[in-house]
Symmetry: C2
Subunit: 281 residues, 2 copies
């Protein structure tokens, strides 16, 4: 099974896929990333993800010279070399390599691009409901930039898995839901409004979130972007998460609260189906 | 000039000092670190730093098997191989290498230890005063663990350097000083009390901070560990920072506020001298 990784201009075997120890991504988490899923010849939201990558790089003042089309070419090459049909593309760009020093002011270094393909056996439109837990949002103030500052997310996800759950949902200090450790969170409230938090800097502007919002509106679902509380989460008719890797996944229990009596909701399922329908070739 | 780095069990040349792209330190900042300065045969606070490294590892549930003495042996070898007389030791331990997945639950992987020596020409007991700027503390909720979640610190330090300053001082949402982007902050207030923030989880338990606290007390200086405000900072008789690499450095201007009329204070200088005196061979 080929396992070829793109590392800083080269296609390398898994064993040779190494970065320098002085990469600022390793010392400081001074890096940004994206995940894009592909299925046969289809990329899900390719342009949206790459555009967000460029936005993240700009936010951190990382000067990256690749164009969207050159990235696509590398990714297509890599998928071919790995003989991958279905899977995900992980793209990371770090600021570059330099002797360890917090400040990057005046540093003239080249960003390091790495791309990893992970094969999946298939993508199933059908889905089971999952459990989630809530916990305090303890991340830094810029979760709106997709950086590798992910240790709080790592701790949160690990706690979920330890507790037999799929996801952890962050709650801000005012009692409002922000997002999941690697997903956006949505509720269908008791008035059948589909609510997800507005882009107030406290959440990532999810690419799947954005697509689902459009697809829902096109299907006459009342979408509202605003904050909602943990209580609204517990009392919702339906809850689901969106992410590039998970698409739409219904949440049927949060902490000790069953959602929709523990059953997968129809709107959640329909939105998942709509997502796949929109990216059919 | 030799430049030998310790990477996961091997002493490697600078060019060969590489870690695998799937190192969780690279993808998540799932790693901890320490910096220790040495001068001839002296290590400054060696045991304190290594003990804190072990504490950080424990906080993140990273199972690391090296003892303090085995680490010291590697570090001494490395210093010798690099023919270094004066310099700093950077030690990083990441959780290890695995296919990218936030949760580490059930992962059976070996931590990756890297050690880098940076030579210095000499260590000067004399010191000039430096400038600092203040900015909002926007880090995650666990700055008390010495992890590589350092992007806010990177942004803060870069902002300082861009503004001709040496350090950025974080202010919490209540208006109290937490710490510098890579240092602890101290004030000598108008009652000649030496104040530094208590270990309330909002700052790192600085090793140099701890030593300076002891040395000051032994010299009949009234040391108080408690929060202090930005205004108290601006109005202090003296302000200085402590860190492993900088020891004690007087701060003579913060934002537009001159401290002690822009002159280096005597207590700051004395404490710097005391620090070196205490580690003489």
């Amino acid at each position: 099974m080929p396992n070829i990784i793109y590392i800083n201009g080269k296609y390398a075997s898994y064993e040779d896929s190494k970065i320098h120890v002085n990469d600022r991504g390793y010392h400081f988490g001074d890096a940004v990333y994206e995940v894009i899923v592909f299925n046969n010849k289809i990329f899900y939201d390719f342009d949206g993800h790459i555009q967000r990558l460029f936005n993240s790089l700009k936010s951190l003042e990382i000067n990256f010279s690749f164009s969207m089309s050159s990235l696509k070419l590398i990714i297509k090459n890599l998928i071919k070399m790995n003989r991958a049909i279905v899977g995900s593309v992980y793209i990371q760009v770090s600021r570059g390599i330099s002797e360890r020093n917090h400040s990057y002011y005046g540093l003239n270094i080249k960003p390091i691009l790495t791309i990893i393909i992970t094969k999946k056996s298939n993508i199933d439109i059908n889905v089971k409901g999952v459990r989630a837990i809530t916990l305090d949002d303890n991340r830094w103030s810029r979760p709106d930039i997709k950086t590798t500052q992910l240790l709080p997310n790592v701790m949160a996800k690990t706690k979920a898995v330890k507790n037999g759950a799929y996801e952890s949902i962050f709650i801000d200090s005012d009692g409002y839901v922000t997002e999941g450790s690697s997903s956006n969170i949505w509720i269908l409230n008791n008035d059948n409004k589909l609510i997800t938090r507005n882009l107030d800097g406290k959440i990532l502007s999810g690419i799947t979130r954005n697509s689902i919002s459009s697809f829902a509106k096109e299907n006459n679902i009342n979408v509202v972007e605003k904050r909602f509380t943990r209580d609204e989460l517990f009392e919702a008719n339906e809850v689901f998460l969106t992410s590039a890797s998970s698409f739409v996944i219904p949440i049927i229990q949060i902490d000790n609260h069953k959602i929709n009596e523990g059953l997968v909701g129809n709107i959640s399922l329909n939105l998942r189906k709509l997502y796949f329908d929109n990216f059919k070739s």
